[in-house]
């Protein structure tokens, strides 16, 4: 029994070793890597990707994909920022609604969940392939962002809101707290609930799941809605850190999220993978980014190296599967 458990975690084990070697190398080659400041800096940068990647993991476990998270992130950040600084005013009714930080954040999350739900609805009810449905949402949500912001950043959001992105609580940055809560919740959700078990079953064999009485459409819609909500969390963190919602925020973040999921050992064909693996994947990407900057590697080479790491991770994962 113990040996099988070990086997199942082989991907995570390898990721940990890779991460350790990476850190060791950077510690020897640079002066600034092993400092407290840099540690929290890396963790804070990673937290946004961790939130999105957790949502992406749920989607990919069902054998789907969500390309729209980067755009949803931008739109939700902009919605939250816009409501905070301007509220909603309807001149015709002589109506003005102001928003507290909590209200604006909840509205942002709701919009994210709503857009994710639309993805899920298109995929389950109209049988649009996930790639296409979320590609359409990628374009639309970016368009909504431009419409909402009129192409200009929304700034001046106040200290309370800014605390979410830049504040510290009990010696740990707020974004790390938030992404930590997301990760723990997701681990419980995937490992300890029926919903989580259904996610793995659907990705592992959708026919068998159907015949086992699993409500496939409902589960999938929730999964895409959750991915949308988590993208909104990421959007709020980014906006709070910069004290500004940028119309082009989150550009190509979906690719970083997919990379983290894949490096973490989750199979793109569904049914196999873990949240913990994805977190490790996100940390590896974050440390790599940080290290390459500290080593003053040119940004062009940084991209090449990141691509190679993704490729290598998948090749290693495939050979793991074969030896199983």
């Amino acid at each position: 029994m113990i040996s099988i458990k070990k086997k199942l975690n082989i991907a995570q084990f390898q990721s940990l070793i890779a991460l350790f070697i990476l850190c060791l190398g950077l510690a020897l080659m640079t002066d600034n890597f092993m400092t407290t400041d840099n540690f929290w800096n890396v963790m804070r940068q990673i937290s946004v990707n961790v939130c999105i990647s957790v949502g992406m993991t749920l989607v990919i476990l069902t054998a789907g994909i969500d390309l729209s998270v980067g755009s949803i992130l931008a739109f939700c950040g902009a919605v939250t920022a816009g409501l905070l600084s301007n509220g909603i005013s309807i001149p015709a009714l002589n109506l003005f609604i102001g928003f507290t930080v909590l209200g604006a954040v909840l509205a942002g999350l709701l919009v994210g969940g709503g857009l994710g739900f639309i993805n899920g609805y298109a995929i389950t009810k109209f049988k649009v392939p996930p790639f296409v449905a979320t590609l359409a949402m990628l374009t639309m949500a970016r368009g909504f962002t431009m419409l909402w912001t009129k192409g200009h950043p929304i700034s001046g959001l106040g200290e309370t809101f800014g605390f979410l992105g830049t504040g510290w609580f009990l010696g740990i940055p707020m974004p790390v707290w938030i992404s930590g809560i997301v990760v723990v919740t997701a681990i419980v959700l995937t490992g300890k609930t029926r919903f989580g078990r259904y996610i793995y079953a659907i990705g592992g064999n959708e026919n068998a799941s159907l015949l086992s009485g699993i409500p496939i459409a409902k589960v999938k819609m929730w999964v895409y809605a959750l991915a949308g909500i988590l993208a909104a969390v990421g959007g709020i963190l980014v906006t709070a850190r910069l004290d500004s919602a940028q119309p082009n925020a989150g550009f190509s973040y979906e690719l970083d999220a997919i990379a983290a999921v894949v490096i973490g050992g989750t199979s793109l064909s569904g049914g196999r993978g873990t949240i913990l693996g994805t977190v490790l994947g996100a940390i590896i990407i974050g440390v790599l980014n940080n290290g390459l900057i500290l080593l003053s590697v040119s940004p062009f080479w940084q991209q090449v190296i990141k691509g190679l790491v993704i490729l290598l991770a998948v090749i290693i994962d495939k050979s793991n599967q074969k030896s199983e």
Binding site: M1, I4, K5, L8, V188, G191, K192, T193, R194, G196, R197, Y200, A201, G204, N205, N207, A208, S209, L210, L211, S212, G213, I214, P215, G271, R272
Partner: protein
């Protein structure tokens, strides 16, 4: 006269199970040979060896007296052996002409595709087959019957000397069948050897010169078809010397658990031929009702319909314990007390990369939850219970189900449904691809379950199996129930006789 193609002492095993045993066969030019046998008798395996699909076998193949060894299907094609498969192998979004010339496209002097020439040739071929479709029509726009003719055209394009036809008329109508017969007679006159497989015995009597009967992978009879009668053929196909142990005569309950009335299922590919038609039957409390039929008779569709999978295409009434049911999806059927162990274990049964424990609990997650969270202790309890009672051979709860043997996988799937204590348990080919010991254990289990009051519907294409486990037997043919037998009246011969559709040609 030397045979065009000759098979000598061919034996083929699949992971230890013998599919063909020392088969001899001679195919002569100008003759149609009917290859006959029930499901799983080895017909398709034999065809696949002769057409280069299976290359690993014992024995010899002779082509015009010379020994040959194919290493891939193309080798057989190049020799002039072509095969018309039962399943369609066409690419839907290519045109008729593109499909027919797939892999052997004609090119002009510049190396570009010679579209006009291919279309002209296709046109001639289609005219010969009296198929009125344009060579440029997409295959996806054709009816299934027309697609079958395109498949035939594909085989006729190359000048083959040996043509295999595996159930070529299963999807086509009478007029198309008549054209096909004309073509076959023409090919015969040209001196080609034809092997014809069909469950429709009338077709064989109309077409064939010779016959070969396979049973359990062995040739049990061959000769000229004019020298044999239909009952004799059926006798050869079915006649087993194995004694079937009849069940102990337990008192059967008269209480009706499931009543099916006038069930009908339309065929999306061919509205004039419903997949299920006029299905009436009752299932009594604690009864094992066997359903026998050849492939395509509608057995699987019947189970699926009773499980809420074809809600939109189905009409008729299903009553469970006297209450009219409308199953729109499997969830509703399961909640009402139905359970289905599907035919294709790999495709529809197991979640391969999940552990045995998780597969087992998949349909009873509420039983292994406490306070809304999954409880691994409860799952272990469930696992221990069923591993012991079903004698599942497994290392641990964490072992992936894909690493179990077929028999043990099937037991896990069974356990998953038994855990729900269903009212009606449907088993679609419960012992397919399972070794003999596990088979017997599953028979034993079926008997125990029925005694505990679960009503069971078993679909099988093995007559001895049906005879051994059923209290009552329904035979299906062409989407209808063609006969019903009590376990006392049922014999291999009368089941076989009832499952072969009559009067389909002419």
């Amino acid at each position: 006269m030397t045979a065009l193609l000759e098979v000598q002492q061919i034996t083929k095993k699949f992971s230890g199970v013998t599919a063909l045993s020392q088969v001899d066969l001679r195919l002569e030019g100008g003759k149609v040979t009917a290859l006959i046998g029930e499901n799983g008798a080895g017909k398709s395996t034999l065809l696949k060896i002769m057409s280069g699909i299976h290359t690993d076998y014992e024995g010899e193949l002779l082509f015009k007296g010379q020994e040959i060894k194919f290493s891939r299907p193309k080798d057989a094609q190049d020799m002039g052996i072509s095969i018309i498969h039962q399943e369609l192998n066409l690419i839907p979004y290519l045109t008729v002409a593109q499909n027919i010339f797939l892999g052997r496209e004609l090119v002009n002097a510049f190396g570009f595709l010679d579209r006009d020439k291919m279309i002209r040739k296709t046109k001639a071929l289609l005219e010969r087959l009296k198929l009125e479709v344009e060579p440029t029509a997409l295959v996806s726009t054709l009816r299934v019957g027309q697609q079958q003719i395109v498949e035939i055209a594909k085989a006729l394009l190359t000048e083959s000397s040996v043509v295999f036809m595996d159930e070529p008329t299963s999807a086509i109508g009478e007029s198309e069948t008549a054209v096909l017969f004309e073509i076959i007679n023409k090919l015969k006159a040209e001196g080609k050897a034809i092997v014809y497989i069909s469950h429709k015995l009338e077709e064989l009597f109309a077409l064939a010169d010779n016959f070969v009967v396979l049973r359990d992978g062995k040739v049990v009879g061959q000769g000229e078809i004019s020298a044999i009668s239909r009952p004799m053929l059926i006798n050869m196909m079915a006649g087993r010397s194995v004694k079937v142990i009849k069940k102990s005569n337990k008192k059967s309950s008269k209480e009706k658990v499931l009543q099916v009335k006038n069930l009908q299922l339309t065929n999306p590919d061919n509205p004039s031929r419903p997949l299920l038609n006029n299905i009436h039957f009752d299932l009594h409390n604690g009864e094992v009702l066997g359903i026998y039929g050849l492939m395509g008779a509608g057995r699987t569709e019947l189970c699926e319909s009773l499980f809420g999978l074809h809600h939109r295409r189905m009409t008729g009434s299903i009553e469970l314990e006297g209450k009219e049911m409308l199953f729109k999806n499997p969830i509703m059927a399961i909640e009402a007390g139905m359970a289905l162990v599907p035919e294709d274990r790999k495709k529809d049964g197991i979640v391969p990369n999940m552990s045995v424990g998780k597969n087992l609990s998949l349909s009873v997650l509420e039983q292994v939850s406490s306070y809304g969270f999954l409880n691994s202790t409860l799952q272990t309890t469930l696992y221990d219970k069923y591993v012991a009672s079903l004698k599942i051979k497994v290392h641990s709860e964490e072992q992936l189900i894909k690493n179990l043997s077929g028999g043990n996988q099937q037991k896990v799937i069974l356990g998953k449904w038994i855990a729900r204590s269903p009212k009606v348990l449907m088993l679609d080919e419960p012992t397919r691809g399972i070794d003999i010991n596990a088979k017997n254990e599953i028979y034993e289990l079926i008997s125990q379950l029925s005694q505990s009051g679960i009503s069971i519907l078993v679909v099988s294409s093995e007559i001895p199996e049906i005879l051994a486990i059923s209290d009552r037997i329904l035979v299906m043919a062409e989407g209808e129930i063609s006969a019903q037998f009590s376990s006392e009246d049922a014999t291999e011969n009368n089941i076989m006789n009832a499952c072969i559709p009559e009067n389909l040609t002419k």
